[in-house]
């Protein structure tokens, strides 16, 4: 049993395909742990493995998958962490979840998250906060905190989440696992309950880089149901790179200097990782992303603006929560949304509504879009000189529950290093680089659009050099 749980997903898949591991046994091992968990990582757990589970030739070998709550799963609660969707069971399944199931990753359960993916600590869930398996007094990060905690704690072999401003990478960092935010358009968004449509991307949260590569390779592809999705250029293979020879790493001063308020322990781990990279043959130089410090401001205009429209459909008319008003439409809307949405969601709806309002559009939304363009140009320029840009994933390690809930701006600073990449639509990966005061630290690599294969290769080489051991969180 313990032996099964210590297998990476890729290793487990291989054993299933080789006939050495019963996929039903594998499923049940995780199902039992997920059903008995105490981190509040799951909002729903499957009763058992799906019938007809022949995974002898399935690429993903029947290794069960934890899925962030905001992915629609047919007949299974899909609530996006919100009371307004409590008990909502969609009539269809998100493309990415369907593809992964077809490739042999059956649904293990749905994971807790910040409501509508708005948050960096998972404390904004309508179904209670998720606890960090490294220290249960601390947050797992967010918004894909349930997925990150589940993988880190060995409640699931692997998981998918979504990243809008850091929602895969930051919880991966805080939980000591790998998180990949793909190029915008690489994975279909169809069936993902939207937060900010121009930024949202699905991606894997896994124990190691190989698992991330394997899961990601089955998520990508053009989907005729998502006009913004694209065919992934080139083939994705499992990473094999042993070193970083010839790889040029750029360290953006704007994201690693004092502005971001990077903790000393995080800085130490970051610098140690750069040394390791150098030892693997990489060259390391400072680089400039002049507009990156404005990314957070642009993000907190664009994402709420899109969210204010995306969340308008939760009106009590067709599905989800409905609180009747005084027999009139307007009060029904008001009561439903007042009762169904949490404070952070309301804050962002108001921010976004304001940013799009007549007379303010140009100053806020319009300006933010210009900044976004500038940030993309900064990255383009950087990638002319560098293969990847590297930063700490989060300025801090996992913080205590409640530490930042009264200060939204401090909470938003969590995303300081992760927000520029989705604004530019480029991929980035977070890998564990070590511990600081017994808490995991994340190291982030970002590359040009559709550079995932190279990104995964480099992350793999670094991962081997770092030799991070996350097994203590699984006990």
């Amino acid at each position: 049993m313990t032996e099964i749980l210590e297998l990476t997903a890729a290793a487990a898949a291989e054993r299933v395909r080789a006939g050495e591991l019963d996929p039903a046994e594998l499923f049940d091992a995780y199902r039992e742990r997920a059903a008995a968990e105490e981190l509040n990582a799951f909002t729903w757990v499957a009763d058992g493995p799906p019938a007809n589970g022949d995974y002898s030739s399935a690429p993903l070998g029947g290794v069960p998958l934890a899925v962030k709550d905001l992915f629609c799963t047919e007949g299974v609660p899909s609530q996006a962490g919100s009371k307004i969707l409590e008990g909502y069971r969609p009539p269809y399944t998100a493309t990415v979840v369907r593809k992964l199931a077809q490739a042999g990753a059956p649904l293990l359960g749905k994971t807790n998250q910040d409501e509508f993916a708005m948050g960096s600590s998972n404390e904004n869930s309508g179904f209670g906060p998720v606890l960090n398996p490294w220290d249960r007094t601390r947050v797992p990060g967010g918004s894909s905190g349930g997925s990150a905690a589940a993988v880190a704690a060995g409640l699931a072999p692997w998981a998918i989440g979504t990243d809008t401003g850091g929602s895969i990478r930051q919880p991966a960092a805080l939980c000591g696992i790998v998180g990949l935010k793909p190029t915008y358009g690489a994975c279909s968004r169809y069936g993902m309950i939207a937060f900010a449509s121009s930024l949202d991307q699905a991606g894997p949260l896994t124990r190691d880089v190989t698992d991330a590569a394997l899961l990601f390779s089955r998520m990508v592809g053009r989907d005729h149901c998502d006009s913004t999705s694209l065919e992934f250029p080139g083939e994705l293979t499992l990473p094999k790179a042993q070193d970083l020879k010839g790889i040029r790493l750029g360290v953006p001063e704007e994201l690693t200097g004092d502005t971001g308020g990077v903790e000393p322990g995080v800085r130490e781990s970051f610098e140690a990782t750069l040394k390791l990279a150098e030892g693997l043959g990489a060259t390391i130089e400072p680089c400039q992303l002049p507009h990156a410090p404005h990314a957070l401001s642009a993000y907190y205009l664009i994402a709420p603006a899109e969210a204010s429209a995306n969340l308008a459909r939760f009106d009590g008319v067709r599905y989800g929560l409905r609180v009747d008003g005084d027999k009139d439409l307007l009060t029904m809307y008001a009561h439903t949304r007042a009762a169904g949405f949490g404070p952070e969601v309301k804050r962002r709806i108001m921010l976004g509504t304001y940013a799009l309002s007549s007379g303010y559009y140009d100053a806020y939304y319009g300006t933010a879009q210009k900044v976004r363009t500038k940030i993309s140009e900064d990255f383009r320029a950087a990638f002319e000189r560098f293969d990847f840009v590297v930063t700490p994933t989060s300025p801090w390690t996992a913080f205590e529950l409640g530490a930042k809930t009264d200060d939204p701006l401090a909470m938003y600073l969590n995303d300081f290093c992760t927000v520029p990449m989705p604004l530019a639509g480029i991929p980035a990966i977070s890998i564990p680089s070590g511990l600081s005061d017994d808490l995991p630290v994340g190291f982030q690599l970002a590359g040009p659009a559709f550079s995932e294969q190279r990104l995964l290769d480099a992350a793999y080489a670094l991962e081997r050099a770092i030799g991070f051991d996350g097994s203590s969180a699984r006990r």
């Binding site: 899909s78 996006a80 169809y190 969340l311 308008a312 599905y319 809307y333 799009l356």
Partner: protein, 484 residues
């Protein structure tokens, strides 16, 4: 011109622009694969996308783009090679996403002209769901319950906005007819106002005649027939002139015209002024109209009503009025051309038989649905031209054809309505009888007063029961009176 009489003696000129919504006749909806339907069981044609379920995404219907391009090309618009969809945000139960996907500052088509009216823009969007209010009022206020039928939701629409080039309610009505036939010929819509596949709002203002400035405009919503449009706009023009004559100011507002009472009331609902917070739809990529797409749309363009009218006038010698009637009303033009194919000797004479025909079958009817075939109408016109039947008798024959159908030659023979010719003894006898019946008149004609011939001609026409040809009768009378 519907400028009313004024107290102060100021002559007012109405200025009218129209906003027309047209449901496109695609197989499926604008952003999903649901079939279009009208009158089917409520909520039988909907899916995750058009119900606005969480996680669903729109995908643009290529056929709708094709139709949009055809319309733009037909109107002579400038086609944007890259246009954008926006979200137009508003809360209402007919809008499942809380926003409508529409085009805003970069529409598919800009400029253009239909007939004598300039087009401001043409853009693509999606229709809302249909609300049915249960209760005495029939409106949302005071309804016991309201049902939402999402079958209509997501139906592809084009919105056509004109420049304020219309100058009277009749002008607006006639132009909308032209627009409808243009769209019908294009085959892009059913353009049925009763079923709502063609919907019209009017922006109305008045200004002192000769003024270059515009007055304050009001928006008259949803006039669902040509007659209501005409009546509504006329009522609004009169209302505005009344306000101005009373020394007051017109208030910019959205109005509802009640065709039953003729009253105009202000709308207090979602149609009120809103901040729609438009922003580019992030779920869709920019719409690229490629050369290939434009060429395909151009290849599908049929002859348009305005062009057809021009051809009738130029090539067939029809009067401008006749050419417009037959060109702008597609069904009349089609009927005319079928008749012309049967006998094309005298297109002008043939065209002149269309108005008497529609007068008899009902002015809004399609003559193709009547008992009169185009071939038999051509025969009748040719018989008149060959003086085989007099014009008056032919009108009676046409009435019989409308009632019972049949071949005009047979009707003429059966009813004995054949023209009396000069060589016919019966006509000569009637001419003699006329002269005998009114010797005074005959004398005056002999003395050179040609106008005195009237009563004599009248006598013959009366006695022949219209079978005689007036010109022939005059000729015979003059012959007799001058010879004697």
């Amino acid at each position: 011109m519907t400028s009313g009489p004024t107290v102060a003696g100021v002559e007012y000129e109405p200025v009218i622009g129209l906003e027309i919504h047209v449901q496109l006749k695609t197989v499926t909806k604008m952003f999903c694969g649901c079939e279009l339907s009208f009158g089917d069981e409520p909520n039988s044609h909907c899916c995750a996308v058009c119900l606005g379920l969480p996680g669903a995404l729109p995908v643009v219907n290529e056929r709708a783009i094709h139709f949009g391009l055809m319309i733009g090309l037909a109107f002579g618009c400038e086609i944007a090679d890259r246009s954008l969809f926006h979200r137009k945000n508003y809360f209402y139960p007919d809008s499942p996403k809380g926003y409508q996907i529409s085009q805003y500052d970069v529409p598919l088509c800009l400029g253009g002209q239909v007939g004598d009216v300039r087009i401001h823009r043409v853009h693509l969007e999606e229709d809302a769901a249909k609300l049915n209010h249960i209760g005495a009022s029939g409106r949302i206020h005071g309804a016991d319950r309201s049902w939402v039928d999402f079958n209509r939701c997501g139906t592809p629409l084009v919105e056509i906005v004109t420049e304020p080039d219309l100058r009277s309610s009749e002008h607006a009505r006639d132009w909308l007819r032209l627009l409808r036939s243009t769209l019908r010929v294009l085959g892009v819509s059913d353009v049925n106002m009763e079923e709502g596949s063609l919907r019209c709002d009017a922006n109305v203002s008045v200004r002192p005649a000769g003024s270059a400035d515009y007055g304050t405009k009001t928006e008259l919503k949803n006039m669902n027939s040509f007659r209501f449009l005409e009546r509504g706009v006329r009522a609004e023009i009169d209302r505005q002139i009344g306000i101005l004559n009373a020394g007051e100011a017109v208030v910019q507002e959205t109005l509802h015209f009640d065709p039953t009472s003729g009253n105009i009331t202000a709308l207090r609902s979602k149609e009120e002024a809103h901040d729609y917070r438009y922003f580019p739809e992030p779920d869709l990529v920019p719409l690229l109209a490629t050369e290939t797409m434009i060429a395909a749309a151009r290849a599908d363009l049929p002859e348009l009503p305005a062009d057809r009218a021009q051809r009738f006038e130029r090539d067939l010698g029809l009067s401008a009025e006749s050419a417009r009637l037959l060109g702008f009303r597609t069904e009349l033009g089609d009927y005319f051309e079928r008749a012309l194919a049967a006998d094309g000797d005298d297109p002008v004479a043939l065209a002149n038989w269309i108005p008497p025909l529609i007068e008899r079958i009902g002015s809004d009817q399609d003559p193709a649905d009547s008992k009169v075939s185009p071939e038999s109408l051509a025969t009748l016109a040719a018989m008149v031209g060959a003086k085989e039947v007099s014009r008056d008798a032919a009108r009676d024959v046409l009435t019989k054809m409308v009632e019972d159908g049949g071949d005009p030659r047979e009707i003429v023979a059966r009813e004995g309505l054949g023209a009396l010719s000069g060589e016919d003894d019966g006509l000569a006898a009637l001419v003699d009888a006329a002269i005998a019946s009114d010797p005074d008149a005959a004398e005056q004609v002999r003395d050179g007063n040609r106008r005195a011939i009237g009563p004599l001609v009248g006598y013959v026409m009366r006695e022949s029961k219209g079978r005689a040809d007036g010109g022939e009768v005059t000729r015979l009378l003059m012959e007799r009176l001058q010879a004697s």
